[in-house]
């Protein structure tokens, strides 16, 4: 599937949200939302992004869209630095589009469906008539009859129909990448399946690349070529979907996957794999951020931060347990030996 041709490259992306306090509004603390993410998105693939709530998935999506300014880091689209004279922001914007989770709040309630979809094309100078005919084509393409839906308002549509409209809106600028931020999470299961099939069809037809953000591990496995696991603003593990689901290397990925409800009633996990909430991203733990909840934690884990390193074919993980040079000894193994 992936031709190993990076369409989007992210280097050391960092975003802290300041918490202001005191009468002078000084920054007293920072929420480490995204803390040094390196990432490649390959041409034509679907990259799944998973992680608990608050791990920085959506912030990463907004950073990729350049909707918020990163504090640090660079974004390259097809090898060109975004925001440089070679690729100004407005030119980049039409290449990457986004579908949001809330299908209702992502459409302007005062505009008709066709005006909502045609807006982007109009901004980029498409004449009104052409933008309208393209809008009607897109509506047909996402399975909504233009005669019945183009003149309606968002509140008159169901959630699934609205999400189709949002997909049509994202497609209107003929982008190369679409970021789907929990795009199907709010839909009924049957509608979700329809929309996922639609997304697969559109991907083949338009040669799209997807970044698919979701907390639903089953869906991510179904749609993704590669999967990225995030924990507290950092990439824990990234690799081919099948390999990662079969043999997760990072203990967090392992715990996350074992928390997946099984289809087999004889094979249900009784013990929660992960207990407690993730630590506060305002004061992330030192060393490896997962060491407070890790089942195989070692002495080195709270002192040194692991780096994301390749450990298997196309499989990168940030964990001392997989790094022979880190001096890692599992605490539990040590206790057992004593």
């Amino acid at each position: 599937m992936s031709t190993e041709n990076a369409i989007l490259t992210v280097r050391n992306l960092r975003k802290y949200f300041p918490i202001k306090g005191g009468i002078l509004g000084k920054t007293i603390k920072n929420v480490h939302a995204v803390d040094g993410v390196d990432l490649e998105v390959f041409q034509g693939e679907t990259l799944g992004v998973v992680g608990e709530s608050g791990c920085g998935k959506s912030t990463t999506a907004r950073l990729l869209m350049q909707l918020i300014e990163p504090d640090e880091g660079a974004l390259y689209f097809e090898g060109k630095l975004v925001g440089s004279p070679e690729l100004p922001l407005k030119a980049f914007r039409r290449q990457v589009q986004m579908v949001f989770q809330d299908s209702y709040s992502s459409l302007n309630p005062r505009l008709t469906i066709e005006d909502n979809i045609a807006f982007g094309a109009r901004v980029h100078g498409t004449p009104a008539r052409e933008a309208l005919s393209r809008t009607h084509d897109l509506l047909t393409r996402v399975g909504l009859d233009p005669a019945r839906f183009a003149g309606r308002y968002p509140h008159e549509l169901s959630g699934g129909q609205r999400q189709r409209v949002n997909i049509a809106r994202a497609l209107a600028l003929r982008p190369k990448i679409i970021i789907l931020d929990e795009a199907v999470s709010a839909l009924d299961k049957s509608v979700e399946a329809q929309v996922l099939n639609l997304l697969a069809d559109l991907k083949a037809e338009f040669g799209l690349t997807y970044v698919f953000i979701s907390h639903d591990l089953n869906v991510v496995r179904f749609v993704s070529d590669r999967v990225m696991v995030m924990y507290l603003g950092k990439v824990a593990e990234i690799g081919d979907a099948e390999a990662l689901y079969a043999t997760p290397l990072h203990p967090y990925s392992g715990a996350l996957l074992s928390s997946m409800p099984s289809m087999d009633p004889d094979n249900r996990t009784m013990e929660p794999a992960l207990t407690g909430d993730p630590p506060n991203p305002i004061d992330p733990p030192t060393g490896c951020r997962f060491h407070t909840r890790c089942s195989v934690v070692g002495a080195v884990c709270s002192q040194k931060e692991p780096t994301l390193t390749q450990r298997a074919a196309k499989h990168l993980v940030a964990c001392h347990a997989h790094d022979p040079a880190s001096g890692y000894v599992a605490l539990k193994a040590k206790e057992a030996a004593e």
């Binding site: 407005k90 709040s105 992502s106 309630p109 982007g120 901004v123 019945r148 308002y153």
Partner: protein, 294 residues
């Protein structure tokens, strides 16, 4: 998804009624609001066509007829302290009173909305700078500010209108800023930014249509306040000058007659009350008509 080709009968293109059409329909069904609108329409029309409607000259009176009670012959609503026909004066007075109630709010609606939307959409330091400046004006009690401003500018209709406009800009800007700030974080605004649209285009297409409604409702509720403040200014001699009829001023000049003819003296006040409560009821009706999930 691919089986749309199943022969479907040709459908007439559906055009849904727009938001304002729906609000209009709901407002027309609201009996209280419609009654208030009828009262306002009646008073406004009477004021506009005062030369035709008013039975007598509002400025000419006969002292011999002064302070006639309500229902006296030739003067249905009695006469004032200079013997002028009260009905005529009330009809003519509507011109200046309505003008002073509506004009400052209309001006403040445009200026305040612009300030608030800019501050709300820009956010950050621009917002802080603009809104703290607005707060300085907002900190004064409105009556005090209006009196101080028109006192400083000097008496007269123009200055009274100007000072009332200044009084109403801060509250309208506050409302505009808060609805714009709330709207700004909506996903559809983010989507519009993601499509590469500039700030002006986004404000024109996506912000105005969503914020002007709530600001408008708030502004209509200020008309009553404006009328009362304007009457207050005239009462203090800072607005309209005698002998021109204006309800606030009439209230002032009739004050001395309150023991002789209390009902006549109360008439201008009753008019102010009637008009302001009508504006408030209409504004309430508009507010509930706009509470459609759309």
């Amino acid at each position: 998804m691919a089986d749309i080709a199943i022969a479907t009968p040709p459908v007439e293109p559906v055009r849904s009624a727009g938001y304002w059409q729906n609000v209009g329909k709901r407002l027309i069904r609201d009996k209280t609001a419609m009654a208030a609108a009828a009262v306002l329409a009646l008073i406004t029309l009477a004021a506009i066509f005062a030369p035709i409607v008013a039975p007598m000259d509002p400025l000419q009176g006969r002292l011999i007829n002064r302070l006639q009670p309500i229902g006296s012959e030739g003067h249905i609503l009695g006469t004032d302290e200079l013997g002028r026909d009260m009905l005529s004066r009330l009809i003519w007075g509507g011109r200046l009173s309505l003008l002073m109630g509506v004009t400052p709010v209309v001006l403040a609606f445009f200026i305040g909305s612009a300030i608030g939307i800019i501050a709300g959409y820009a956010g950050g330091w621009t917002n802080t700078l603009i809104m703290r400046t607005v707060d300085i004006f907002y900190a004064f009690p409105s009556v005090l500010l209006a009196v101080a401003l028109s006192g400083a500018l000097g008496a007269g209709l123009g200055n009274a209108l100007l000072s009332l406009t200044v009084v109403f800009i801060p509250p309208i800007a506050r409302v505009a800023e808060s609805v714009t700030t709330r709207l700004r974080s909506s996903d559809f605004i983010e989507a519009a930014r993601a499509s590469g649209a500039g700030a002006l285009t986004i404000v024109r297409v996506h912000v105005l249509g969503n914020v002007l409604g709530p600001i408008f409702v708030y502004a209509t509720s200020l008309i009553a306040v404006s009328m009362i403040l304007a009457s207050g200014l005239s009462f203090l001699g800072l607005g309209v000058r005698p002998p021109n009829p204006e309800w606030g001023l009439m209230l002032n000049t009739l004050r001395t007659a309150i023991y002789a003819q209390p009902w006549v003296a109360a008439l201008p006040g009753a008019m102010i009350f009637l008009v302001s409560i009508s504006f408030n009821l209409l504004s309430d009706g508009l507010r509930s008509a706009m509470e459609v999930r759309q």
